[in-house]
Symmetry: C2
Subunit: 201 residues, 2 copies
């Protein structure tokens, strides 16, 4: 134990930057080509690091994969928080953000949700990390919905936490429909219909 | 051209049964192990046919895969129609059917939707067939919702076709959440919340 919290060596600021670059490039490759289609050699080339550098930060592909899942979860949760779903303007901004995001999703699907089909049945650790990331996403959505709820803007009798689960489910399924139909139309229809039902204008 | 509609030989009734058994066994294997994890040898063994019999019906894996996509689409559409979503009793029955179905989905996800992540980016023909299957499913949901609509049971201002897309998206996403969380709870929450918002009791 070096730093008292885990058994990884403490990183210098430069080390942190290199590690972050590796994770970011690996995440982009995995989103584009899938887990099975991405090799450590691809990641080395994209992040412009040597094999020994890559090994220094990630002794095996599983550790890198786990860092990628954490990175994608952080990204969606940060985006969710920045959208300020709780304000009326925030709701519009959030809707526009997810609809813009779906253009990326038409090739590759949701960066986090698309990992479920690839990993849930074969990699229990990855499954648990993806589940935790999606839970954090639902919590971030719920924070915004609670604000709308306390402003009296949710449909009567609806629990903000239940609605957050529903919004996340609809987002994931709508991304899947958009990916397979190569069109943003089903995505926009599903999100707009759910928001029209759940939120008073 | 043998039978005037396509270039496949017309099958005897026994031939139809053998072909159907091959497709059914292949569908079960693919749902359990994924497309990449299922070989033609696995299918031969499960359907108890010889290599030449399998080749007679399906000259390559792609043709078999396309028949499996059609089979899974037929299955979900038939189940959807039988649930009689349009009646009040039908709504309860439909909700119970999908919640029961999700127990299967906890390992493997939706038999049709789970193929999106595996095939949409690599196999354009399969992608188009899955998209067509999901469209047929949305149409079947819409038929039920139109009946509810004409009985005045939908939330005001909601188009039944738009709601059908939303229901299908929520189903797909809720199946994904159930699969990754190994729990039916997020699935039940999402479906029940959407139905509570969309349909008058």
């Amino acid at each position: 134990m070096v730093n008292g919290t885990n058994d990884r060596p403490r990183l210098t600021r430069k080390g942190e930057r290199v590690r972050a670059r590796i994770v970011e490039e690996a995440a982009a490759l995995i989103h584009e080509r899938g887990v099975a289609g991405t090799t450590l050699d691809d990641v080395k080339a994209a992040a412009q690091v040597s094999g020994s550098q890559l090994y220094h930060y990630f002794p095996d592909k599983n550790e890198l994969l786990q860092a990628v899942i954490g990175y994608q979860a952080d990204t969606v949760v940060t985006n969710q928080r920045q959208a300020l779903l709780g304000s009326a303007m925030g709701l519009e901004a959030w809707r526009d953000m997810v609809v813009t995001g779906v253009t990326r999703a038409q090739a590759g699907g949701c960066p986090l949700g698309s990992l479920v089909g690839q990993l849930a049945e074969s990699d229990p650790e990855a499954r648990a990390l993806i589940a935790a990331g999606l839970e954090r996403w639902a919590t971030a959505i719920s924070e915004g919905l609670r604000l709308l709820h306390s402003d009296g803007k949710l449909a009567p009798g609806i629990d903000p936490d239940d609605l957050a689960t529903t919004v996340l489910a609809t987002l994931q399924g709508a991304l899947l429909l958009a990916q397979v139909q190569r069109s943003t139309r089903p995505f926009e229809t599903a999100i707009d219909t759910l928001l029209a039902l759940a939120i008073k204008t």
